[in-house]
């Protein structure tokens, strides 16, 4: 059977709270969203296809794949970011990290997405985790440098990178030094790195 994917979306406000365990029915805000996400993810488990459930500020998104394995959540999330759909993208990337806190692509893209929305504190935290977990993840150091610059951390930290490709064509990033730079009179750079799918060339 050909692989088909479709999204089911509905308003979070229309979710029937009576479907939740009694202790969760009065929850509000993020707690409610998390309860709905967990409930629906559990409902979708073991149904013969693959599903991902994401909850944005105002809607529920269930993505079904009728056959085969689900597309990695981080990839789905990055695609939404590329389309400028930040709420959807960030929700999916958070879900990816819930499932795998070491998902490098999710760390990278969520860090980038949050940075673009000026949620720099969490962005920095994620990108620092990324370079700790996978220091050769393509673009990780650049992203971290940009995030640092956004919060004005110019003097003590400058990431210098260069890339080199190995014989197999895979990108490899190496940190080579942290020279001090003068930044007086300059605002933080507004580099926009494209949301990244897995391991493209760099």
């Amino acid at each position: 059977m050909a692989e088909t994917i479709h999204d089911i979306q509905f308003s979070l406000a229309e979710f029937d709270r009576s479907e939740l365990p009694e202790s969760h029915r009065e929850l509000q805000g993020d707690d409610f969203r998390q309860a709905v996400q967990e409930h629906l993810a559990a409902q979708c488990t073991g149904q013969g296809g693959a599903a991902e459930v994401a909850i944005t500020a105002d809607r529920v998104i269930i993505r079904w794949k009728e056959s085969g394995a689900a597309e990695p959540l981080a990839e789905l999330g990055a695609n939404h970011l590329k389309l400028g759909e930040y709420d959807k993208g960030i929700a999916l990337l958070r879900l990816a990290l819930e499932r795998d806190p070491h998902d490098a692509a999710a760390l990278f893209n969520l860090g980038m997405g949050l940075g673009d929305r000026d949620e720099t504190g969490e962005a920095l935290e994620l990108l620092e985790r990324l370079v700790t977990i996978q220091p050769d993840y393509p673009g990780a150091w650049v992203a971290l440098g940009v995030a640092q610059a956004r919060v004005g951390q110019w003097d003590g930290f400058q990431v210098m990178i260069f890339t080199e490709s190995d014989a197999g064509g895979n990108a490899r990033v190496r940190q080579v030094g942290r020279p001090r730079v003068k930044t007086a009179g300059h605002g933080p750079p507004r580099h926009r790195l494209s949301p990244r799918l897995s391991h493209p060339g760099w």
Binding site: E14, F15, D16, E19, Q43, A51, D58, W64
Partner: protein
Amino acid sequence: MPFAPEGQELIQQVEQLSSRPVHVAEEPGMKLRATVTPSRGGAPAHMVRFKPGSPSVDYLVASQLMFLVRTFTCPAADRWEIAAFPAEQDVGIKAMGLGDSPDAFARSMIGQIITQVRAYSIGCRVDGWIRQHLPGLREQQEAEIRSQLAENERALAPEIRQKSPKPLVDTNSAMNAVYATFWSTMLMEPRLVIPFTAMGYRGKAGELRAILEDVPDEPSSDRVLVERWTEALGLTGAYHFNPYSID
């Protein structure tokens, strides 16, 4: 392109039962996937029309023909069709929250929702029969059903639901929910009901499903089935049954 043998046999069956020919034709631009117009008055034939380009034409035509078969296997005195006086449409307009809509639009929507009641309730009978008795069409049927299920799921999106009054949306969704429960059983895919359950349609879908199971699966009971569904959906008084006569 010739139709599958199953469709040709159904055409013959309808023609024998009704003593009228069946014409099947594509209709470009049609919104529905397929429709049937029974012959009445001076009309020389039953017309089955379908949207061009569907890979499931044989199933679509067969399912429309089965509505005719169910009608014409009833004794002539027990055949019926649905109609509505303006005053009955007004009842429906009020019940479906369409009072603030333009009059022509509101009346059209009431007609459509009543048609949906008939199509879905009797349609479950038709589809169950096709699945059981026409295995050659099973692949097309399943493809078409999955397409319809996906369309129904897309209609749950907030931007679509907010275009219509809530009572109308809920009535439509309740029928889509029972359609999903019906097919989740047939296809053994419980996931199909998840979004409808999550949105609070478990109860109404269960009620409609119970009616479906309670009313005998005989063409002569189709009228009762429609009556009970419309009652459950708050559409009592929004239509009436007329005797159907081919002449």
